[in-house]
Symmetry: C2
Subunit: 316 residues, 2 copies
C-alpha cells in the first residue's frame, strides 16, 4: 500500500492507496502546531499509522509527501514552509522514513499538483504537461516527456516569476514584472482593493474595500459589470503572455490551470486565454496546445500526495 501526506497551512490530508493508485481511505486533521517540528512530525506519523492500519494487513511500501513552499532537494529539507511555526530546514522526509520505516518522496505543492492532474485529472495521458497553481501565489509543476522535471536544485517551474512586463509591477519576491504580481491571488486582491470604483458593483458585493476578493470580481463580471470585466481582461492578458512563452519554450500538450481560473470557468477566463495564445503563437502550434481548468478541486490534496507516492520508483 501507498500512503499520501499533504501538509497544508491548516489541515493535513492523509490518504491510503493501492499500488495502482486507487484510493481506499482518506482522513484529515488540523496541521499540528506544537512549535516543535519533531513533535509535529510524530503527530503526523501517528495519524498516518492510524490510517495505514485500515489496510487489512498489507504493508506500507512508500509514502508521498506534499509540502508547501521551497524545498532543498539536495539536502532533503523543508526550507521555511509558510504557516508552520518553528520549521526551518527540517529534514522531513528522513524523519518520516524513520517513523514509518519505508521510502518517502517529497515534492512541493506545484510539482505534486502536476503529478496529480496528470495521473487523475485534466492531463491524463499527456506526455508533456504544465500545471499552474493559481492561488495566493503562482507556481508550476512541469511534466516533460512523461517525467516530473525539477531542474537544478528543484528550482524549475517558478513560472509565477517569469516577467510579463518591463519594468512592471513590484512583486512580493523583490523582482518586478513577475506574473504573480498580476495574477497571484494576493497581488490581484491588493490591486482590486486599490482600484475598485467607489460606486461600483464589486465594492457593493464585497461590503467594503478591505473585503474585496477575486470571487466578487467573478460574480460582478458574470453580471456584465464593466469594471469587473476589465479586471478579468487584465488578468487574462498577463496570464496569456506567460502561456504563450510556455508554448514557445516547452510546447506542452496541455496547460492545466488551478484555483482562480477553474473558478472563473470557460467564458470569463479559459476561452479568452485560448484566444490570446492562438493569436500569439504560430498558426500551426495553437491547435496542439490544450488549455484546461484543473479537475481535482477539493480532492487535490489527497490525489497530490498519492501521485507523489506513485512517482517513488522513478528516477529523480
Amino acid at each position: 500500500m501507498l500512503l499520501g501526506i499533504d501538509i497544508g497551512g491548516t489541515k493535513v490530508a492523509y490518504t491510503l492507496a493501492r499500488e495502482d493508485g486507487e484510493i481506499v481511505a482518506r482522513s484529515r486533521a488540523s496541521t499540528p502546531q506544537t512549535g516543535n517540528p519533531k513533535s509535529d512530525v510524530e503527530i503526523m506519523a501517528d495519524a498516518a499509522r492510524a490510517l495505514a492500519s485500515e489496510s487489512a494487513g498489507e504493508s506500507l511500501t512508500g509514502v508521498g509527501l506534499c509540502v508547501p513552499g521551497p524545498l532543498d532537494l539536495t539536502r532533503g529539507t523543508v526550507v521555511h514552509p509558510p504557516n508552520l511555526v518553528g520549521w526551518e530546514e527540517v529534514p522531513l522526509a528522513a524523519w518520516l522514513e524513520d517513523e514509518l520505516r519505508c521510502s518517502v518522496r517529497m515534492e512541493n505543492d506545484a510539482n505534486a499538483g502536476a503529478l496529480a492532474e496528470w495521473r487523475y485529472g485534466a492531463g491524463q495521458g499527456a506526455r508533456d504537461l504544465v500545471y499552474l497553481t493559481m492561488s495566493t501565489g503562482v507556481g508550476a509543476g512541469l511534466i516533460v516527456d512523461g517525467r516530473l522535471h525539477r531542474g537544478r536544485r528543484g528550482t524549475a517551474g517558478e513560472v509565477g516569476h517569469v516577467a510579463v512586463d518591463w519594468p512592471g509591477e513590484s512583486c512580493a519576491c523583490g523582482l518586478r514584472g513577475c506574473l504573480e504580481a498580476y495574477v497571484g491571488g494576493r497581488a490581484w486582491t491588493e490591486h482590486l482593493r486599490g482600484e475598485a470604483e467607489a460606486d461600483g458593483r464589486v465594492l457593493a458585493l464585497a461590503g467594503g474595500r478591505d473585503r474585496i476578493g477575486p470571487e466578487h470580481v467573478l460574480t460582478a463580471a458574470r453580471e456584465q459589470d464593466a469594471w469587473a470585466l476589465a479586471q478579468i481582461e487584465r488578468f487574462n492578458l498577463y496570464l496569456g503572455r506567460a502561456l504563450a512563452q510556455l508554448a514557445f519554450t516547452l510546447a506542452p500538450e496541455i496547460v492545466v490551470l488551478g484555483t482562480i481560473v477553474a473558478a472563473a470557468g470557460d467564458t470569463l477566463c479559459l476561452d479568452p486565454l485560448r484566444q490570446y495564445v492562438a493569436d500569439h503563437v504560430w498558426p500551426h502550434q495553437a491547435p496542439d496546445l490544450r488549455i484546461e481548468a484543473a479537475q481535482l478541486g477539493e480532492d487535490l490534496p489527497h490525489r497530490s500526495a498519492v501521485a507523489v507516492a506513485l512517482a517513488l520508483g522513478e528516477e529523480d
Copy 2:
C-alpha cells in the same frame, strides 16, 4: 560505425565516427542543388557511402541527420528548408534509410547543436542544458533531465519567439516582441543599418550603411565606441530577459550561446548577460546557472550530426 550528415545552405558535412562518438573521418561538399530532392538525396548518399568506405570494413549502424528549418516529426519530413530548391515535405529520413540501409535519426540544427555542445562542447556532463543558436535566426535545443526535449510535434525550443517586450518590434515570423526581432542576426543587422550614425565609427568600419553587420559593432565596441557599446547593451538587455525567463521556467544547469555571443566574448556579452540574469532571478538561483559561449565553432556541423546519431537508441 556511425555516420553524420549535416545539410547546410551551401555545404554538406559528412562525418564518420565510432560508436563511442570518436570521429574518424570528415568530408565536406557543396549542397546538391539539382532542383530535384530525390536526386539531391542520391548525391548525398553517394558521398556518405564514399566516406563510410573508409571504415575498413565495419558496417554502418546508424545515421544522424542535421537539417535546417522546421521538421514535421510526426510525418518524418523536412517541411521547407531554406536554400534547398524544390524541397517541400521531403521524407528525407526514409529516403536515406533506403539508400544507406540503416536507421536514420533527423533533428533540426538547434536540437542537433544542443546534443553536440552537450556531448562534446561547453555542456558536457550537464543534466539540463539550453543551447541557443544565435545566427540569422534564434532557436533553442533543450536537454531536459538528460534527454532531448522536442515537445508536441517537435515545436519546443522556439525561444527566439518568446516575447521580450510588449507590443515590441515586428518579427519576421509575423508576431511582435519576439527575442529574434532584437537579437537575431538578420533583425539586428537591419536595426543597425537603420540606426547607425552618419559620422560614426561603425559606418566607417563597414564602408557603407548597407554593409554594416554585427562584426563591425563588435570591433567598434572593443575600441570603446559609445554607439556600438549602446547597441550591444540593447542586445544583452533583450537576451538577458529571455535567459531570466528560462532560468525561472526550466532551471537548467547551463545555457550555451552560439555564434554572435561566442564572437562577442566575455567582456562585451557574457559577463553583462550573467549580471543581468543574476539581477533578475532570486539570489539562490543565480549561482546555479552557468551562461557560456558555444565551444565547437567550425566543427559544429560534424559534431552535430554525430551527436544526433549517438542519440539514435534513445526514446523519442
